[in-house]
Amino acid sequence: MPAVAETIEAVQSVTEGGYKWGFSTDIEMEFAPKGLNEDIVRFISAKKNEPAWLLEWRLKAFAIWQKMETPVWAAVQHPPIDFQDAFYYAAPTNAQKPKSLDEVDPELLKTYAKLGIPLKEQAILAGVEGAGDTPAEGRMPIAVDAVFDSVSVATTFKDRLEKDGIIFCSISEAVHKHPELVREYLGSVVPQADNFYAALNSAVFTDGSFVYIPKGVRCPMELSTYFRINAKGPGLFERTLILADAGSHVSYLEGCTAPQRDENQLHAAVVELVALDDATIKYSTVQNWYPGDAEGKGGIYNFVTKRGACRGARSKISWTQVETGSAITWKYPSCILLGDDSVGEFYSVAITNNRQQADTGTKMFHIGRNTKSTIVSKGISAGRGQNTYRGLVRISPKAVGARNFTQCDSLLIGDQCGAHTVPYIENRCMSAKVEHEATTSRIAEDQLFYCRQRGLTEEEAVGLIVNGFCREVLKELPMEFAVEAQKLLAISLEGSVG
């Protein structure tokens, strides 16, 4: 398998240590003034030339947020966040409204090159005439919407997608070009009052992606968003909305990186998915925000609300996440299974090394008849990392014939880390079937020795064993990203043994 060779290569390439993506691009920024109040919300809305209804929507969210308390139920610890001591709008000034790709700041393109964004895409971003529709040799075409701090910089393959009637653009653009869709669905899955961070996001979200797949259309390529936090100080509040109309199919991937900073940075995103009859949405995340240093200094607070609604009969929403970064991850991609025979899936790998903390899992709400959900969670704890699976399976009285299968496996490396499993099951339907399996294991000394006796270094051995442990989840990722994910797993665990 080339993937493993790549894993090994990746481990070697980072043996000098450090966070590979910890560079910062020098671009002139335009900040909103520091702090958060109604005026800042108005500033953001005005910056984006938003219609009145959206400003009202934001202000309502802000009013709700002000009355809310920071949630404390997650098994994570951090000092209180001073929401007034942060910037809520930062845009690369040159790329604020790229009418054509020529306007994209060359510094940005350099950044993407360093990131190795799957952009043939690089050429397209660079504004090469006619490069728009040709995928790079040997690659599956992937349409990319790149979000740099708060602003969506470029969306590739747009023309090709438009042929099928697919809309893939920044949410700011969608607000202007497809207001009816945005207005109908924004907040329909994650309402403003849903939780503290969702309310905050609703008030100050700056950009994100918007996807609409028309009836019966199978999206011909992977859609992808690449998020990157660059500015010193600001949080990243992106908002993503994906609508799959009846009988459509889409696979979407988000990847994230952030430069290395000493201070903690907040990332509070909201993602909403809506699947109508017979529609399928596959949403994959590879998250490697800066995790902080070995002593726990710096790193991203990744407090994210992701939820999908299977509104139509036989619809399906599948979440796959590989979470290797962030100082703290607080994230529960969930499915509301409304339509009869709808299907929800959650496949997760979460790694915590050094001082990282993750409290992640899913919620599956079974409402329609014969709804099905599958949860496979793989938690890996190393160093002093703390990893919690928190999940809820709720089956309503009407969900006749509902089925859930949950599997939670934890792998421990070393003796100073922790793994915790908090599964809630609420079943109000006699005919439902709910299964839960859980294991906790360690990388055994005999496994390491066996691998090393066959010639693998200790780090190669750990990479191989961990990838094996995560195989059920990794195979759910689109091929190209599975390779990247395998590399990340190995990189994230560097220095965790020996």
Binding site: M1, E458, G468, E472
Partner: protein, 246 residues
């Protein structure tokens, strides 16, 4: 040539090896026989570099190189292979994947070019055919759900692919039926030649009917108490360690 001189080793402060002297010339196969607790497994782990086995004295050289200072994977790259008494399971790790990773890790360590997936598959298929192994073995997880016999066969396949210069078989015959025993023996015999040597550690003479050793050594109380030709194994079998070894 493997040369062991005055080797002493302990586990958790308890001395297990009491001064082993042994010379295994290149091209020969030697058997080490001994009762339970005589230090057979400890010797194989000390030679292959497992953690927790502390060498307290003596030396081990392989073709003139001091291997005791090397990491386990470095020893593997010089051509040392340990066939395990209990091969370890690696859940989710595909057998082909594991074998190719191991092969390439060793090749890389020796400065040789790596083999790609196609080359590897061709190589593996040829070896499996020679060993009369079903091809689906490549697709399964490493030793996961394998029977005892299948695990040993898998070890033999690894040995065939890695082509070691020195194989140490640590009671690899334990728990094997006669068919599996033959496969293991065939695997070792196929590698026999002027550049290959093997240390066959066993409790019983049975395996030595199929892998006929050049020399037999008796290990008792952590040292070699007697050495002889292949006939010594039969003598041990007939008289027991108590009498024959003294």
């Amino acid at each position: 040539m493997l040369k062991i001189e005055g080797l002493t080793a302990e586990i958790d402060g308890k001395t297990i090896l009491n001064g082993i002297d042994l010379e295994l010339p290149t091209g020969e196969v030697h058997a080490i026989m001994g009762p339970n607790g005589s230090g057979k497994s400890t010797l194989s782990y000390v030679l292959s570099g497992r953690e927790g086995y502390e060498v307290t004295g003596g030396s081990v050289t392989f073709n003139g190189i001091d291997i005791l200072a090397m990491e386990p994977e470095e020893r593997a790259a010089t051509g040392l292979f340990l066939a395990f008494q209990y091969p370890v399971e690696l859940p989710g790790v595909g057998n082909a994947n594991f074998l190719r990773t191991a092969l390439n890790a060793q090749r890389r360590a020796r400065g040789e070019p790596e083999v790609d997936a196609m080359q590897f598959l061709k190589l593996a298929r040829a070896k499996m055919k020679a060993l009369n192994m079903p091809e689906d073995m490549l697709k399964r997880g490493v030793n996961v759900g394998f029977s005892g016999g299948e695990k040993k066969r898998n070890d033999v396949l690894q040995m065939a692919l890695l082509e070691p210069k020195l194989a140490i078989l640590d009671e690899t015959d334990s728990g094997l039926d006669i068919d599996a025993l033959k496969i293991v023996a065939d695997g070792v015999n196929a590698l026999r030649g002027p550049a290959f040597s093997a240390l066959v550690i066993t409790h019983y003479q049975r395996l030595l009917n199929y892998i006929v050793p050049d020399r037999v050594h008796v290990l008792m109380g952590g040292r070699i108490t007697r050495s002889g030709g292949p006939e010594l194994a039969h003598e041990l079998e007939a008289q027991g360690y108590g009498q024959a070894a003294a």
